[in-house]
Homo-oligomer: 223 residues x 2
DNA sequence: CGTTGCATTGAAATCCCTCAAGCGAGGTGG
DNA sequence: CCACCTCGCTTGAGGGATTTCAATGCAACG
């Protein structure tokens, strides 16, 4: 999909474009687009939340790190998804590019001003937060109560809905990202993929491309 | 704390009082109070979300059930906490009284009308959703990456902050509720409590009352 | 063609779960 | 008032799912 080099991990971001950003609900806001290299930080935890972000291309992950280095990925954001919208002054998680990505930035002041005078727009912003909440509620059940097999199956079903390719899913993220998202280890994720392949539920032409051979069977595993 | 009888589990709710309900952020809304018996449902998943709720006394849990009966408790709501605020038409989780409780009900129509014309109020409602999201983000890390000991320690620290009693915490919920909240089994929760008691970190004068003997040690376990 | 980073696989260990029994407080009924 | 029941909680023993540790495979890149 994308060529990857060591240089890109440290490439500087650069403003790309100034103009309007179209968001869900017919919102149209002034913004600009920036490039982020794979693994580059879009914003850090505790940083001032001066912007709201929308993925244009590529993918972004939100992460939380525990003091001893354990990591939890909270969500993957795909093209069209909005992230980093906060009510408070600071971001409450870290956002990093999963692959080389283009991200639109919208100033918080523009958001706040619009929400102030347009109650329909305010409702749209509230809806964005509410969507995140809903997604997290589902994810909480997965983390609290599902087996490794169910977690991976759920992940594949959801990804196939969100980012369908011709005959399956193209995963922009590494096994480590998936593991940290599903509350598993990289080895367990890999073994589970292999098991699903042995059981003819999926095919793995390459590690990042999954062909769903038995969607029925996969859906049954997705408790 | 509260006397419990089999009758109370099936007691009907009854309107108690009509008047104003004070919410966070200086919001004042028309509402009324109802009694809920222990384990009584406040609202069910998929039910129309015609009301927003605030705990007056007692405690409420939000739950999600998987098809095979596995349960995940999403949150415990204590006096003052608002729950059940939705943007969509229906509730996305079930809410039940953990103990005999009084709950204030506010009509959604009143909320919507206020949010429509008062942008400061709209921001307050958004803030409530945002708070829930923040709490869930923390909980997600717990479910995805923490050990049983860390989960219980975190739970006790948080409960002690939210519902302090003279020398510790009064837990309104059962071991089963705690287990389903922490993504563990009731036995593991019980064993972990016992271990913390053996290690002189807590004392358990009764199963529902926890004395925090070593808050420092507890905080260290709370990764 | 060696290096590097990511992914897969195997073997052993561990943490937590499952199954099962026992305990204690509170309520009921004889 | 005491025996008995129920329900929630605790404790033990054994097992299993996932992690940990370690080695190998593989593709991209220089």
């Amino acid at each position: 999909m994308q060529t990857i080099s060591a240089y890109q991990d440290t490439a500087r971001t650069s403003p790309m474009l100034s103009g309007r950003v179209q968001m869900a609900g017919g919102l149209d806001l002034p913004g600009f687009v920036m490039d982020f290299a794979r693994n580059e930080e879009v914003f850090g935890e505790e940083e001032p939340a001066d912007f709201v972000y929308q993925v244009v291309s590529g993918a972004v992950r939100s992460t939380r790190i525990l003091s001893d280095g354990r990591r939890q990925v909270g969500a993957f954001y795909l093209p069209g998804d909005v992230f980093g919208l906060e009510l408070g002054e600071t971001h409450r998680f870290c956002a990093e590019a999963v692959a080389n990505s283009k991200v639109a930035l919208i100033r918080r002041t523009a958001i706040d001003r619009l929400a102030e005078r347009d109650s329909a727009a305010a409702r749209q912003f509230w809806a964005l937060t509410s969507q995140d909440l809903q997604r997290l509620q589902d994810h909480m059940v997965l983390l609290g109560r599902k087996s490794a097999l169910e977690r991976v199956a759920t992940f594949l079903v959801k990804m196939a809905e969100r980012a369908p390719s011709r005959d399956g899913v193209d995963l922009p993220m590494s096994r480590t990202d998936i593991a940290d998202y599903l509350g598993l280890t990289i080895e367990t994720v890999s073994r589970t993929f292999s098991q699903l392949e042995r059981d003819q539920v999926i095919a793995l032409p390459s590690s990042r491309h999954v062909v769903l051979r038995d969607r029925r069977g996969l859906a049954e595993l997705d408790a």
